[in-house]
Symmetry: D2
Amino acid sequence: MFVVMKKDSGKEELSNVTQRVKEFGLATQLAHGTERTVVAVLGTTTALPDLRESLELMPGVEEVVPITKPYKLSSREFQPENTVVKIGDISIGGNEVVVMAGPCAVENEEQIISTAQAVKAAGAVILRGGAFKPSTSPYHFRGLGEEGLRMLAQAREKVGILIITEVLSAKDVELVARYTDIVQIGTRNMQNFALLDEAGDLRKPVMLKRGMSATIQEWLLAAEYILSRGNHQLMLCERGIRTFETYTRNTMDISAIPAIHHLSHLPIIADPSHGTGKWHLVTPLSLAAVAAGADGLIIEVHPTPDTALKDGAQSLNFDNFKRLMAKLAPVAEATGRKIASPLGRCPEFVHER
Amino acid sequence: MFVVMKKDSGKEELSNVTQRVKEFGLATQLAHGTERTVVAVLGTTTALPDLRESLELMPGVEEVVPITKPYKLSSREFQPENTVVKIGDISIGGNEVVVMAGPCAVENEEQIISTAQAVKAAGAVILRGGAFKPSTSPYHFRGLGEEGLRMLAQAREKVGILIITEVLSAKDVELVARYTDIVQIGTRNMQNFALLDEAGDLRKPVMLKRGMSATIQEWLLAAEYILSRGNHQLMLCERGIRTFETYTRNTMDISAIPAIHHLSHLPIIADPSHGTGKWHLVTPLSLAAVAAGADGLIIEVHPTPDTALKDGAQSLNFDNFKRLMAKLAPVAEATGRKIASPLGRCPEFVHER
Amino acid sequence: MFVVMKKDSGKEELSNVTQRVKEFGLATQLAHGTERTVVAVLGTTTALPDLRESLELMPGVEEVVPITKPYKLSSREFQPENTVVKIGDISIGGNEVVVMAGPCAVENEEQIISTAQAVKAAGAVILRGGAFKPSTSPYHFRGLGEEGLRMLAQAREKVGILIITEVLSAKDVELVARYTDIVQIGTRNMQNFALLDEAGDLRKPVMLKRGMSATIQEWLLAAEYILSRGNHQLMLCERGIRTFETYTRNTMDISAIPAIHHLSHLPIIADPSHGTGKWHLVTPLSLAAVAAGADGLIIEVHPTPDTALKDGAQSLNFDNFKRLMAKLAPVAEATGRKIASPLGRCPEFVHER
Amino acid sequence: MFVVMKKDSGKEELSNVTQRVKEFGLATQLAHGTERTVVAVLGTTTALPDLRESLELMPGVEEVVPITKPYKLSSREFQPENTVVKIGDISIGGNEVVVMAGPCAVENEEQIISTAQAVKAAGAVILRGGAFKPSTSPYHFRGLGEEGLRMLAQAREKVGILIITEVLSAKDVELVARYTDIVQIGTRNMQNFALLDEAGDLRKPVMLKRGMSATIQEWLLAAEYILSRGNHQLMLCERGIRTFETYTRNTMDISAIPAIHHLSHLPIIADPSHGTGKWHLVTPLSLAAVAAGADGLIIEVHPTPDTALKDGAQSLNFDNFKRLMAKLAPVAEATGRKIASPLGRCPEFVHER
């Protein structure tokens, strides 16, 4: 951390700054430039953010410039090798691209089972489906709740496919974790810290979506909540950010995929369905995400998108999903990877606390 | 709602669209333009969003254009007269500008009581202070919890000032409501639906901050969660939105103040401390907010901002807050209003469920 | 276009609206919903935008909803088949992916010729290089001007490679067009209408970059300026948009690639160098852009990026560019395309007015 | 400027960095932290940006952190006292708030003269009106050109009011400057460097609008283009920035007003008409801008906004403008200022080159 002093600051102000740094148990070193003096703060402490804010307000201080990243456990510096999340035979974050697919919301048994069969047949290894649905309006469908979880579990057993589903609230984490292979935390909850704490106490894979206006750094700090409580089975999911563009529902930040790989060891999944909001953009963005190195995709698929209770306009029907999978394999191979193959049968649930 | 058919769409596609509308119990009317045919959907139903999505996917459909606003109870059309939230002698949403002030976080008894005294002396009627603090990083100070609530209540009794404090999690709503006059829902939780549901079940004033990337419409829909469960003691708070500008922490959307007054009957408070992130911008933005019609302000004040545990750089010290209050009164008067006067003593807590 | 009347609007207001529409020579049709009356405006006129604004202000009018897109000549509806821009043997917008590469700025003869040789050897067919450089600060390098153009032309002849270079000002369009195969209009000039008019009068290929905060619709309207003056040799270039994210210089909107292919017949090139601002993200984003269907790439390459006069941090050196090209070919093939091969020799300049 | 070395960087990399700095004629000083070594670069040079880019790419370098602001002449450090632009008896940047008002576009003699009379009667001192209009679509009205300038000049003489009008292109700067008291550079041209150069060569007041997605720093750098060529009669204009919000046309960044006053000595004008795009928000945002310290306002006023050729929806009619002016005076007084009074008669044109 550097403290840049104002041009017209005096000796007393400088000495107050170095004194303050000492009070936090750290050392300083001075650099006298032609225009300004700069104080380098040497050493580190968990109170660094507090010291920073304190210094920013001292007389004579122009600016405080941090130089170390605020996230630790999620950083590639901390752990150079990739995190690989394993569920039975499936590895996420390794050399295989894992495809998750299914409806936005679980609507009924037939819908979820037929979708599970169709997406598995096309090559998906994980079934997605919302039982607890976030909804911008209180007047919209908010999901079937535990009944939806039971239908997912039924599809899991019957079809032989892993499942991922979202949890909306800290109090439901245990419940959801009992039914699912991967617990999803959605974009609106990326900074729901009570929920992150609960997810950090799980011993089960978690997928953390990027907040719709979160920077990459904030996203990694949210990941830090989960990692710092001991849950290392964590993957991230880019699902589009909010910009001024209105043609697409969000702007899919494909550069976040290689950026996360550069900054962190965590696997990164891409969600082109929410990322674009338009079904006809899902296939090209899926190919782009895999070409950019995504460890997996999560895609909305519905037997009849035009009657879907939620997000129909961004869902693929079975045929379109099949076509997408056919196009995906050569792109994965072109980048030296392959698409993970569907399971024979599901592993037992693993989940200890 | 209108369904715009594609240029090259045929009779059968058109008839399928009108058929689908009928299945939802609504009528249609056709307008044949020179280039396109448009189907007007007549009548309304709670399933409108589902119908819309369904229509968007039908063959031959170019676009579906909604014409009614999705929020109801919060709209000015629904309730033309202003909502006025009353707490003892204080009215929020009437002709007086209500000033809330205090530290970002409650740190200790002395800090919160001295601040309560100072802000009351300067003209504030409500003390703010965080006991549960949202923190981007898990390594930062997260608040004193219930101990902080107790200190706030102590300041309330001793100094004679109402209090507002934030709740972060659905499970803490009851606890926080026992101590505070106004329950605050922060920007990161604007779409924490479990929390909104709980706040809707309260019978106590709630202040709902705008999500940092929420549109005005989404904000009113979040308000709808609370109103639709019967809690009408609701006020909104503009606290800056996220843009590309980096000089300020957020971009304070002053236009949201008159926009909310135009679209809704709910009171609107302005938070220039989080809105700008720089203490030297707090005063001009406070004046601007009041000139634009804000029903109140919420300002960060700290005895010694340079030692504050959180958000010091955006806090005023006592002197600067006093100066702000002196400047505020004439601006309020210039717009035909006045600053609400501090209480003699606090009313009893009111809170039934 | 629809005119949605207010709930409480009366007969006279309705009749004024239909009267106004008639004054513009158009017909109306009424739809009386349960809540509101809506007036459909039938027919079209070039004065439609004026009519719209006029209607928006009339008493009793709630909202005016346009239904036709404001761009015409650039739309896929107007021209269903792809525009293919041909320069000698090179086709842009066909089945081959065209790679343009070179330094941000032309610095000297040796630099530009060695780069031309290196990028051609690696498979690029077009050399990029700025002679007129836009610079945020007046104190930075602004390019060599016509001397730079001459160096580019020299490289063209000597190496046998087409060239693309930017024009910054309407008055320089003729000059730049004399030297270059493709005239580039940069992001800051997407709405420099005097420049667009001049480019529209050229009979030479133009590449129009997206404004850094332009919507796709505004971009197509800027294209319309060029097309409507008769220059149909036009291609677009996505170069990243401005968002709140600060890790990348811009956020590369990969979804704009398939979106443009959906809405328009114009070819679309991707610029991952400006799109990301970080050289280590250029390769993954290049692969992503091609996977998403980009008709070409424009990449910054410099012999020694760490001594480059401009944008060194986002430039590849020769080795990295070679590695990128090696990775690109299989991705192009995986999506049924191939990389265009370098020319034997350059065609004569074609440019009539 | 600081060069932060990577954790694992070695002595040779460090020595290369200090060597590179020396090649630019500057000195270094080392700070060895517990985790990293940092090189402080002492002294300054115009080649600093080039040095920075060069250092960023060197092996072993983690990050380069600049500490001096890139703008000079526009900074408050460079000139502590306010710039006051004088035109006859009118001072912009002093203690009086200057109101500019008039139609978006000059349409005909009667419209511009009646508007000039009305806005002067209500208290405006400067008439705005576009003769050259930027238009997103080539099919919309683009202004009357020189004929419009003549009408403005006629209104100036007849009514006794100063005028401001926009110039779109470098080649028209001389022409426009012959007719107008203040030359306006619009948001789309904030980085039209050819135009900025021409405006810098003028000896006549210029108003530079903020680019719709420009940071405050980029805006000041654009100002630097004009100042560095010797034109110091410069004022800035905040007109709203582009965000995700769609209810308003732009998001008016009121905090930019005190921020500019903090960072720079240049006067700042607010444009709530373009800033909001809705006439009913113009008055509250005007009051807010003045309360925040704006040196002036520029407001769209039209005799009959519902028949305006451009931007009718954001224009006030004469009555509403009169009401706005009546509300403005007390707010200006509440902040210790007053509204500048209309002229008796216009001064001669001053304009030397």
